[in-house]
């Protein structure tokens, strides 16, 4: 009886709470449900546009003042482009939840309009699933400002002859090379002219000196793929996960597809890495997942690092300069020396894109809005930096945080500049090179003069899908070990090639060659 009394009191009070939350929640739910319905009008008719809310989906940590900025953007749009009659809804999704959430949204047919996408975020699958709209007609009609800057770079985002993504206008490639700790370079008066050759081998004597004289400092710190970016971008035009064209030491009209693990340069670099590993020049924990090489430099535990460089005005191979971003990340002066400057590559053009969802109720309006991001500096600044005075102030034409604010408590601070629009319209942040975007322009000129042999060619992996999976499995046993120097390539590289062959590497290469030849015939290359 005692139990009954106590139990029933607790139970009934809890049931009451549940009921109350339920009603409370459902009413607020109704409220939020109504607004998009009300604002999503029908198709744009000729006579005056009905109001429409464009939902923008992009990866970002949630910002506290998201709604504030969204309202500011809407006020601005209403004032500046009244005939467009459009409002935006910013719908950022956490990086960690990105693929789960976007997949669910697409599969369940949720209404949204603009979507950030990239080859590394499943662009191919999204197109195959039919989740994206073809953009060619929309772009021709409503995207003049996009066309003004991106016209020549649409091919890589085409699938089956139709365009599915709009590349963010930004730097068209990167440069790879070595970062060195300036303090140690000065201390030992290292001669850096050896890098003019563009070969990473020039690093070796320095690594030796550091190893012998600086106990506790790893001469070359690396993640699991130390020289990968440098090797593949500097030596190959990559096609699939192993098919590539060797551009180092081959004629410009050579379109022979080869296995990327089977070039003399790969063996050379693998042997060198292995030698460095054995000599103790590199860190033993290179294969630890989640290892952050920059953190080791930050802790003063490392001397050199091979990776992607900051883009500066004069990116000549072998030129030594202070790295602005690298110094920031390391908390000390870092030098950077480029050893390779990218060619204009197909992959880069699909690494940052905006697409329009199939579930959009008004794709025309979405395209109009996207076009604004390529033309209107104010709109772009609102999206990237927030509201002036609240989230940023301008100091000498650069964006700075308001006094007494840090990027944690300012309410709207993110690095989304690379996700949408024309980057060249952006402000730079204090601490960055004020000429950053001028440098980009210059760099782009340099890169566009040097396109990859197969720029615009997109490999369709469908016919050899099974082979690619088996090859991936074969690679797992060897590739990381070879690339980090822990496996002797003389012994293990032949084993890897043999396994790849057994997994159907030849078939993949033949398929790539076939598609490439067809593409060449169609494009007159």
């Amino acid at each position: 009886m005692k139990w009954l009394k106590k139990g029933s009191v607790i139970l009934s009070s809890l049931m009451l709470t549940v009921a109350m939350t339920a009603t409370g929640c459902s009413s607020s739910n109704n409220g939020s449900n109504n607004s998009p319905q009300a604002s999503s009008g029908g198709d744009s008719a000729a006579g005056g546009l009905k109001p429409y809310e464009v939902v923008m989906v992009f990866p970002d940590a949630p910002q506290k003042d998201n709604e504030l900025v969204q309202n500011a953007m809407n006020d601005y749009l209403k004032k500046t482009y009244p005939d467009m009659n459009v409002t935006v809804k910013l719908n950022p999704i956490d990086w960690g939840a990105w693929s789960d959430k976007t997949n669910l949204m697409m599969a369940s047919g949720d209404k949204f309009d603009l979507l950030f996408t990239a080859d590394w975020l499943g662009f191919q699958q999204q197109v195959t699933k039919g989740a994206l709209l073809p953009l060619d007609d929309l772009l021709a009609k409503y995207g003049p400002d996009i066309e003004a800057v991106e016209k020549n770079y649409h091919d890589p985002a085409k699938r089956g002859g139709k365009l599915y993504g709009i590349h963010t206008h930004q730097e068209l490639g990167g440069a790879q090379g070595v970062y060195l700790d300036k303090a140690l370079v000065d201390k030992y008066k290292f001669d850096l002219s050896g890098f003019k050759s563009g070969n990473v081998e020039a690093l070796e004597p320095m690594l030796k000196t550091i190893k012998e004289n600086e106990p506790g400092i790893t001469p070359l710190v690396m993640p699991s793929f130390p020289l990968d970016a440098y090797y593949s971008s500097g030596t190959l035009d990559q096609i699939g996960n192993l098919a590539a064209i060797n551009v180092k030491g081959t004629a410009a009209d050579d379109f022979t597809v080869i296995n990327m693990y089977n070039t003399p340069r790969f063996l050379e670099l693998a042997k060198m890495t292995n030698k460095w590993y054995k000599a103790g020049y590199t860190n033993k924990d290179a294969l630890t997942p989640g290892l952050d090489a920059w953190k080791k430099i930050q802790a003063g535990q490392a001397f050199a690092l091979v990776g992607d460089m900051d883009i500066l005005a004069n990116m000549e191979i072998g030129s030594v300069s202070k790295s602005p971003n690298g110094s920031l990340k390391a908390g000390r002066d870092m030098l950077q020396i480029p050893l390779n400057v990218d060619r204009l590559q197909t992959g880069k053009m699909t690494a940052t894109m905006q697409a329009i969802s199939k579930t959009s109720k008004d794709p025309e309006r979405a395209m109009m809005l996207l076009n604004l991001f390529f033309k209107d500096k104010n709109l772009l600044t609102l999206f990237n930096f927030g509201i002036e005075g609240t989230h940023y102030v301008l100091k000498d034409g650069q964006v700075a945080l308001p006094d007494g604010k840090t990027n944690n408590d300012v309410g709207y601070y993110h690095d989304n500049m690379w996700q949408i629009g024309n980057q060249m319209l952006n402000y730079t942040r204090v601490g960055e090179d004020p000429n950053k975007y001028k440098n980009y322009e210059k760099f782009n000129e340099m890169i566009t003069k040097n396109p990859s042999r197969i720029f615009g060619f997109v490999f369709d992996p469908e016919p050899v899908k099974n082979e690619m999976i088996t090859i991936d499995n074969a690679n797992k046993a060897f590739v990381d070990g070879i690339k980090s120097g822990q496996l002797d390539p003389e012994e293990n590289l032949p084993k890897l090639l043999e396994k790849q062959k057994a997994a159907g590497a030849d078939k993949v290469i033949a398929e790539a060659q076939k598609q490439l030849d067809a593409w060449r015939a169609a494009n007159g290359k």
């Binding site: 369940s108 990167g174 802790a299």
Partner: protein, 293 residues
């Protein structure tokens, strides 16, 4: 006599080792969370850091509002979830245990099917968002965990085996209604199974982050585990794309090692504090049940 009663030293040794295996990781996490960040970077994890620093906790204190709110959400969801879930589960199990209930076979099969085949992520999502419209409410965190087929089966077995049907009969002869029988006779007799299943449900509600990931957009309704998980997932995701040449404009900022560990400590908190109390009732419940049953 006395030799028989004394616990075998081997058992003590094994149990001590087992306890150590449980305590050591906990200790390590605690130590990293109060270690100086630079020391961690230099020397890696250690059981006794050379330098202590509470920066991580100070940093989290700045975010206190968010964390406390997530705490509140988690606690509310767990408490309400456990109570409602226990009620619904036991009610269903009790009906199924009654031999005079005509639908018991059909219901059993129905529950068995949910255990063997899952509908998949998409239908699950559609039911809650399109049909029930509970996305972005606390209900979205509570409803999906209410009934587990496995729990129902355990309870049904308990009811069938330890409550004699004649007891129900006699209660009803004395004039008790079905509800009265259920609340004042069956439930008090079933404390052991309620405690056991209650523990299962508590743990699953407290540890759940995926429902938050799928249904919750509103930052104010994030549960604690999702907040923690989100930070870690974001970090590892950004790291995994750091090598992709997406843009040099993007700067990858990582949460610091000690902050991650401090967050883990905070998330463990309530369960560590609550468990001893819960366990007390758990054991008592068992004896009570045993004596009366």
């Amino acid at each position: 006599m006395s030799t028989q009663k004394r616990t075998h030293p081997l058992i003590i040794a094994v149990l001590s080792l087992f306890s150590l295996a449980c305590l050591i990781p906990f200790w390590l996490v605690l130590m990293i969370s109060i270690a100086d960040e630079k020391e961690v970077l230099k020397h890696g994890y250690s059981f006794w850091p050379q330098k202590f620093s509470f920066v991580a906790y100070q940093f989290l204190a700045q975010d206190a509002e968010k964390i406390l709110r997530a705490y509140g959400v988690s606690i509310f969801v767990t408490v309400v979830g456990v109570v409602v879930s226990l009620f619904v589960t036991s009610a269903m199990a009790f009906s199924m245990s009654r031999k005079d209930f005509p639908l018991r076979g059909a219901l059993s099969i129905y529950i068995l099917i949910t255990m063997l085949f899952s509908g998949g992520l998409l239908p699950w999502y559609l039911v809650y968002t399109r049909f029930l419209h509970v996305q972005d409410t606390l209900l979205a965190l509570i409803i999906p965990g209410l009934i587990g087929g496995f729990n129902v089966i355990i309870m049904r077995t308990f009811f069938t085996n330890s409550i004699p049907p004649s007891l129900i009969d006699s209660a009803q002869i004395d004039g008790a209604s079905e509800y009265r029988t259920y609340f004042s006779i069956i439930l008090p007799l079933s404390l052991p199974v309620l405690a056991t299943i209650g523990l299962f449900i508590t743990v699953s509600y407290w540890n759940d982050w995926f429902t938050s990931l799928v249904f919750i957009q509103n930052e104010k309704l994030f549960s604690l585990q999702y907040l923690l998980n989100k930070t870690l997932m974001n970090a590892s995701f950004l790291q995994s794309i750091a090598n992709k040449a997406y843009s040099t404009t993007a700067q990858v900022t990582q949460p610091l090692e000690s902050i991650r560990m401090a967050m883990a400590m905070i998330a463990i908190g309530p369960l560590v504090l609550v468990f001893p109390f819960l366990q007390k009732y758990f054991v008592k419940g068992l004896t009570v049940g045993a004596v009366k049953g």
